[in-house]
C-alpha cells in the first residue's frame, strides 16, 4: 500500500500506485475515533467501488471521475467526488454526506437509508430509486423513473425531472423546481405545507443551493397503490 500523510495531516492515497482493495481495506479498518480524519484519493480513473462501506466519520476527497457504487453503504463519512460519478453513487448510504461535483449516472442514492447526497450537476435515470430515508439534492435535472418506489426521505431537484417521477411512491417527499415530464403511477402534486416548505428550506441550506422555496412544486404519494393507514403516518 502506498499512502502518504501530507504535512496538512491529509492521508494521500494514489490509486495509480496502489490497489483499490488496499484503499478500501484501510478505510474499512478506521475506527470512529481515528486520528486520520482526512483522506485524499488520487487517480481514481473511473474505478468501481471506491470508498465503499466506510463507517468512520472521516472526510474523503476523490480527485476525479469514479465508476460504479462510489461511497456505497457509506455510514458517517463525508465523501466529495471531484468529477462525474458512475451508476449507484452512495447507494444504500446509511449516514454521512456524499457530494458529487459533476454529474451522476443512473440510480444515484438507490435504497439509501440516511445521510445527504448532493449532486452539483445532473443525475440520470432512476435517481433515488427505492430510497428509504436519504436526503438527495440535485442541482441539475434528473432522468426518468426517479424516486421509483421511494419509501421515505426527500428528493430535491433544482432542474427538471424526466418521465414517471415518483412511480409507485410510498412516503418520500419530492420537490422539483423545473418541469416534470410526467408523474408516475400514484404520484401526485401536493400542497406545499409549512412543514414541507421548512424541510425544503433546510435541505437547500445544507446543500448550499441558491433557490427560493416558493419556486418549487411538491409531490407525494396518492396512497392508492398500497395499504396506507393514516394512523401509521408517524412511522414513515
Amino acid at each position: 500500500m502506498s499512502a502518504a500523510v501530507a504535512a496538512s495531516g491529509v492521508v494521500v492515497f494514489d490509486l495509480a500506485a496502489s490497489r483499490l482493495r488496499d484503499l478500501n481495506a484501510a478505510l474499512a479498518g478506521l475506527t470512529r475515533e481515528t486520528n486520520f480524519a482526512a483522506w485524499r484519493v488520487e487517480n481514481p480513473r473511473g474505478e468501481h467501488a471506491i470508498a465503499v462501506g466506510v463507517t468512520a466519520p472521516v472526510s474523503i476527497t476523490v480527485d476525479g471521475p469514479v465508476g460504479y457504487y462510489c461511497a456505497g453503504m457509506n455510514d458517517g463519512a463525508d465523501v466529495t467526488i471531484l468529477g462525474n460519478a458512475g451508476p449507484g453513487v452512495a447507494e444504500n448510504m446509511m449516514s454521512g454526506r456524499v457530494h458529487v461535483m459533476g454529474d451522476a449516472s443512473q440510480a444515484a442514492g438507490a435504497t439509501a437509508h440516511g445521510g445527504l447526497l448532493v449532486i452539483e450537476g445532473n443525475a440520470s435515470a432512476r435517481c433515488g430509486i427505492s430510497m428509504k430515508g436519504v436526503d438527495i439534492v440535485v442541482k441539475g435535472s434528473v432522468g426518468h423513473m426517479s424516486a421509483f418506489m421511494a419509501q421515505s426521505g426527500n428528493l430535491v431537484v433544482l432542474g427538471d425531472a424526466g418521465e414517471a417521477l415518483g412511480d409507485s411512491l410510498y412516503e418520500a417527499r419530492l420537490f422539483v423546481r423545473g418541469k416534470v415530464a410526467s408523474l408516475g403511477a400514484d404520484c401526485e402534486e401536493k400542497e406545499m405545507t409549512e412543514e414541507a416548505a421548512g424541510i425544503l428550506a433546510g435541505l437547500l441550506r445544507r446543500a448550499d443551493a441558491r433557490a427560493e422555496v416558493s419556486a418549487f412544486r411538491f409531490y407525494g404519494s396518492a396512497r392508492k397503490l398500497y395499504s396506507f393507514h393514516v394512523d401509521n403516518a408517524g412511522d414513515y
Binding site: R45, G46, E47, P65, Y68, N84, D103, S105, A125
Partner: protein, 293 residues
C-alpha cells in the same frame, strides 16, 4: 454485460494513434466481455477499389487465394483484407463463393476493415495487430454472450452493408419478427443473432435512402428490447440508447475526438480526457457525428 468502445477523430493528427487508443479501451473492457472481441476500423481507401475483409480457416493460404483472384492483400491472423477493383466486385464475390467456400466475407466497403475473434480482448487485438492500425474512426466490442453462442459469428461488430457496422450492448426481444420482415425486403442474415437484425434494419433503412441519424430514429420505433448501439458508416458515427436505458454509456468530447465507452474507465487514458466534456447520452436520443470524406 458486454463492453463498447468507440472513437471518432476530429483531429487528423491523431489518426496514426487510433488503433492503439482503441486497443487500450477494449483492454479495459475485458471485465464486461471476456468471451470474444472485435472491431471495425475506417482507414484510408483507394479510389476505384473496395476492401473486403475475409476470414478463413486456421492456416489458410490467403496468398494463393489472392493470386487466383488477382487482387492485392494483407493478412491479419485468420483474417485478410483484399483490394478489389470496383468493376470486379461481382466477379470476385462469385469466385470466392465458388472456389473458396471456406472463406467468409466479414465485411466490405471503401474504407472499413472488420476483425473479430473468440478470446480475451487483448489477445484478439494482438492477433489482428490493432495497435498499429491507422484510421479516422473505430468501433469495438467485448462480448459476454447471452442471446446466442460464443462463436466468431456471434461476435461484434456486425456488418450488413458497405462500410456499415454496429455493436450492441443489450438484447432484443422482437428480432425474429423483424428478421422475417427484413428477409422479405431482400436482406440476408448469416446468424440467428439479435444484433445482426439491428444492423440489418439500419442497413435496410440506409438502402432505402435514409441518413444514418434518420435510420437510428426509425430503429427507436421498431426494435424492442434493451440496447445501447454504436454504429459506424464511411464518414459517420452514431449512438442510440433505448428508452429505458439500462445499459451503461458514457461519452467524452474534445476538440480532437468523440469517444464512447460503456464505462468511463475505458476512456481514462485518452489524451486530454481531464478537459473533455463528459456526458451520459440520453435515452431515445439519436447522437450523430459526421465528417467530410
Amino acid at each position: 454485460m458486454c463492453g463498447i468502445a468507440g472513437l471518432f477523430l476530429k483531429n487528423r493528427a491523431l489518426e496514426p494513434e487510433l488503433g492503439a487508443m482503441t486497443a487500450g479501451m477494449l483492454s479495459v473492457l475485458t471485465g464486461r466481455g471476456p468471451d470474444s472481441a472485435g472491431f471495425a476500423i475506417y482507414g484510408s481507401g483507394m479510389p476505384g477499389f473496395l476492401k473486403f475483409t475475409l476470414r478463413g480457416p486456421a492456416g489458410f493460404d490467403f496468398g494463393a487465394m489472392a493470386a487466383a483472384l488477382d487482387v492485392g492483400f494483407s493478412v491479419h491472423d485468420d483474417h485478410a483484407v483484399i483490394g478489389v477493383p470496383e468493376e470486379r466486385e461481382g466477379r470476385v464475390r462469385a469466385m470466392l463463393a465458388q472456389k473458396f467456400p471456406q472463406v467468409a466475407i466479414v465485411a466490405s466497403g471503401a474504407r472499413m476493415e472488420l476483425f473479430k475473434g473468440v478470446g480475451l480482448p487483448d489477445e484478439v487485438c494482438r492477433r489482428f495487430g490493432l495497435e498499429g492500425m491507422v484510421g479516422s474512426h473505430a468501433i469495438g466490442h467485448t462480448r459476454m454472450a447471452t442471446e446466442s453462442a460464443v462463436t466468431i459469428q456471434g461476435a461484434h461488430p456486425f456488418s450488413t452493408g458497405p462500410d456499415q457496422c454496429l455493436v450492441h450492448n443489450g438484447s432484443l426481444s422482437n428480432h425474429n419478427d423483424i428478421r422475417r420482415k427484413l428477409v422479405k425486403e431482400g436482406m440476408v442474415f448469416e446468424t440467428q443473432n439479435d444484433t445482426e437484425v439491428a444492423a440489418g434494419f439500419l442497413s435496410w433503412q440506409l438502402r432505402e435512402g435514409l441518413k444514418l441519424d434518420e435510420a437510428l430514429g426509425a430503429a427507436l420505433g421498431t426494435l424492442d428490447g434493451f440496447y445501447t448501439f454504436v454504429v459506424g458508416t464511411e464518414t459517420g458515427f452514431g449512438v442510440l440508447r433505448d428508452p429505458v436505458a439500462c445499459k451503461p454509456a458514457v461519452m467524452a468530447e474534445t476538440d480532437d475526438y468523440v469517444a464512447f465507452g460503456s464505462e468511463y474507465r475505458a476512456m481514462a487514458d485518452l489524451p486530454g480526457i481531464a478537459r473533455a466534456h463528459l456526458f451520459e447520452p440520453e435515452p431515445s436520443k439519436v447522437y450523430f457525428w459526421e465528417r467530410a470524406a
